[in-house]
């Protein structure tokens, strides 16, 4: 059989398979996953949004710019690969304790305890510990509401 005839013969089922596979792989599969994901894990599926009261104040997984001295601050964005690294190392967090303590009058011990309560990334002997910046700051705001109310009442605006 000549190559030209072979190609012509193959083309019709090939076009059909291309269209069918596009519908199955490109539409049906992601839509099915979206449906199940929205039912089973709605919070994660929408981007792990963090709330303070009823207002959305960020995503736990995406770094935001904390510039005020009474908050833990994220890494400089140019240092990470994603530019939105939401975590910092324990050492980084501990090195910020003195600054936060003098800005808020919360004791260093209390701040260090707070850090230790929110360590992630380790499992038994595996992994390296880190802390999530937004988780820490939210914990600060919620544990010391009156302090932060005085520092900046706008934090609690609804």
């Amino acid at each position: 059989m000549s190559l030209k005839r072979e190609i012509r013969q193959t083309s019709l089922p090939a076009i059909r398979l291309a269209v069918i596979s596009m519908i199955l792989c490109g539409l049906l599969f992601p839509l099915l996953v979206t449906g199940f994901a929205q039912v089973l894990f709605p919070g994660q599926a929408d981007g792990s949004i963090a709330h303070l009261g009823t207002s959305k104040i960020g995503s736990y997984l995406i770094a935001q710019n904390f510039s005020r001295p009474f908050f833990f601050q994220s890494r400089n964005s140019s240092l990470s690969a994603s530019g939105v690294d939401p975590d910092i190392t324990l050492q980084d967090a501990q090195s910020q304790v003195a600054r936060i303590s003098s800005a808020t009058n919360i004791t260093r011990d209390q701040l260090n305890t707070l850090i230790n309560q929110h360590i992630e990334g380790t499992f038994w002997i595996f992994g390296y510990p880190y802390v999530n910046v937004l988780t820490l700051n939210l914990a600060l705001i919620q544990s010391y509401q009156t302090v932060y109310q005085q520092l900046d009442p706008n934090i609690f605006r609804q």
């Binding site: 072979e6 193959t10 089922p13 090939a14 076009i15 059909r16 398979l17 291309a18 269209v19 069918i20 596979s21 596009m22 792989c25 490109g26 539409l27 599969f29 992601p30 996953v33 979206t34 199940f36 994901a37 089973l40 894990f41 994660q44 599926a45 929408d46 981007g47 792990s48 949004i49 303070l52 207002s55 959305k56 104040i57 960020g58 995503s59 736990y60 997984l61 995406i62 935001q64 904390f66 908050f71 140019s78 240092l79 990470s80 690969a81 994603s82 939105v84 690294d85 939401p86 975590d87 910092i88 190392t89 992630e120 990334g121 002997i125 992994g127 390296y128 880190y130 700051n137 705001i141």
Partner: protein, 575 residues
């Protein structure tokens, strides 16, 4: 040097991947021997419906030519469909960000990139928008070209679609190749049947479960547009979401590697924590490893899988050794949640199975880690990409059998079949495709000034870094790997068109040649008397030695100008 706990982590991940791959093997064998399975009751009617729609006879056995031709033609039509989506995404639905369509040269390069299982990306999934959340105007790269983003429809019906089909194509051609070597085979199987069954019975079920696990771990899966939020400090933040988890599942399981976001699996929404990182590494290894077992099972000689599997993992261990010589610690270009350890480990795995996804910026990696990445991509079977890893291993085995035959002065034979001069010519063509399509365009990029046009310095102390970038681009393209230094910087007509051609040839030329080889094995006379035991430890060692020799001899001058020179320069000047 590596910490004991980290060493144990590697051993645990690799052994669980090998174990899971072994458990998956009988299922994959059933798919390609068309054997009855418990899934038949549910899937038979669906598959029969698809065959009827296609108008094909699923039991028609194809020769290698027909099989190969069907694979190529179907792939070309699939690329054409995705091309249309890319170019016209601006006017199509599911585009909440309002991204404009891709340029023709970029769309050309990208469809080849996804259809060949390469997944080099000269765009940023989320675009680099000047006015979020509306992305109709885009920033430009250093060559003045816009950095485009993709609509959700493009991510689904172009990227995910081709990621599924390229993975399925890879598995199918590997199955066809194996059939050629199976004693008593009459044909290479039917491409349509193989393709449909590998989707319905393998990729869809595994990816569905994996995608939901990823969502549980924090990967978004939504069709809503980007979220605009107000932070506690009073500024606004745009959170980039989308149908990410469904893409991540196939990009890793299918060893594709092309991510939803520009930063790939370094972006927290694509890879939120060490657990998701380990799961992605596991998924990458699963099917390539399983196909090594499948080879032995389908041949009916399980021991013949040994040199392929253990050869692959021995080479992989060498890659790991090189990568973990330097101290690894959290550095610039890395993410805190992965640290130095998971970053280096990922880079080795992703190139060893030619996935090409990254969880760091490659600029942050030590030159020895990059050297190890090169080894993975140049060898291509450690254990290599979906399907093609096994094919390349068979190619190396035949070369080794030939070399051993020459040394001992006997006619080379494999599985009791005499290896003819034509066979050796074919495997040499398949082997030589690779260096030609890597080295020629690398030289061209410098000769035509295309390298300096994108800001790669040619006459400066850091020239070795620039050379590594260009050499890496074409190595990654030819190996259908897709990990990538250039990213959106590479969105220039030269790199789009050259990389597109390299990927296409790097994919289909070796596949065609190796299928021709396997096709000629059908009905070949077999003797029961075994001259050379190819399932022994000795043979595996010789195999690993010849692979290293071949690859090092072919590429050493180029490696020396790139990562090796960089290593010594940094040793002198400090890292």
């Amino acid at each position: 040097m590596i910490q004991p706990a980290d060493f144990l982590t590697i051993i645990l991940i690799l052994s669980s991947a090998i174990l899971a791959a072994r458990l998956l093997t009988p299922h994959i064998v059933k798919i390609f021997t068309y054997a009855p399975s418990r899934l038949d009751r549910f899937l038979d009617p669906i598959e029969k419906g698809i065959y009827r729609l296609l108008g094909v006879d699923p039991s028609h056995g194809m020769g290698w030519r027909e099989y190969f031709l069907s694979a190529v033609i179907i792939n070309i039509f699939q690329m054409a469909l995705a091309f249309i989506v890319f170019v016209f995404q601006g006017g199509l639905p599911l585009n909440p960000q309002g991204f404009p369509g891709l340029g023709l040269d970029l769309a050309f390069m990208q469809v080849i990139s996804f259809a060949t299982n390469t997944n080099l990306q000269h765009y940023n999934g989320e675009g680099v928008c000047t006015q979020l959340p509306n992305c109709s105007t885009l920033s430009t790269n250093s060559a003045g070209q816009p950095i485009p983003g993709l609509s959700y429809l493009s991510q689904m019906t172009a990227v995910q679609f081709l990621q599924f089909t390229s993975a399925a194509t890879g598995i199918c051609v590997a199955a066809a190749l194996i059939r050629g070597f199976v004693a008593g085979s009459k044909d290479m199987g039917n491409f349509y049947t193989d393709f449909v069954r590998s989707l319905t019975r393998l990729l869809f079920p595994l990816c569905f479960v994996a995608a939901l696990i990823f969502v549980g771990l924090g990967v978004p899966q939504t069709l809503d547009g980007y979220q605009i939020l107000h932070t506690v400090e009073g500024s606004t933040q745009t959170v980039l979401v989308g149908p990410v988890a469904s893409l991540v599942s196939i990009m890793q399981l299918g060893t594709n590697g092309g991510g939803f976001f520009g930063a790939n699996s370094a972006y927290p929404f694509q890879n939120p924590n060490p657990a998701s990182d380990v799961f992605q590494i596991f998924l990458m290894l699963l099917i390539p490893t399983s196909l090594c077992f499948v080879y032995g099972h389908m041949l009916g000689k399980r021991k013949e899988a040994r040199p392929i599997l253990w050869g692959a993992y021995a080479l992989f261990a060498i890659d790991l050794l090189i990568a973990f010589i330097p101290n690894y610690s959290l550095g610039p270009g890395m993410e805190v949640r992965f640290g130095g350890f998971f970053t280096s480990f990922w880079t080795v795995v992703t190139t060893a199975v030619t996935t090409g996804s990254v969880n760091s910026s490659l600029f942050g990696n030590h030159p020895l880690v990059i050297l190890s990445a090169f080894m993975g991509m140049l060898i291509q079977s450690t254990p290599g990409g979906k399907g093609v890893g096994v094919m390349y291993m068979v190619m190396y085995i035949i070369i080794t059998v030939f070399i051993v035959g020459l040394m001992s002065g006997r006619t080379p034979e494999y599985l009791g079949m005499k290896i003819s001069a034509r066979d050796v010519k074919l495997v040499m063509i398949a082997f030589l495709v690779h260096p030609v399509i890597i080295l020629v365009p690398t030289v061209l990029a410098y000769a035509t000034g295309a390298a300096s046009a994108i800001g790669v310095c040619v006459n400066c102390p850091a020239a070795s870094t620039g050379f590594t970038q260009i050499f890496y681009e074409f190595t990654s393209a030819a190996a259908n790997n897709g990990s990538d230094f250039l990213g959106a910087t590479g969105n220039t007509p030269f790199f789009n068109i050259s990389a597109g051609l390299v990927m296409f040839l790097g994919r289909f030329l070796p596949i065609g040649v190796l299928l021709a080889l396997a096709g000629s094995m059908i009905n070949r006379k077999r003797t029961s008397e075994i001259g050379l035991k190819t399932d022994s430890v000795t043979f595996t060692i010789v195999l690993v030695g010849s692979i290293l020799l071949l690859v090092v001899l072919t590429f050493f001058p180029f490696l020396a100008l790139g990562p090796i020179l960089e290593f010594f320069q940094k040793r002198v000047n400090g890292f």
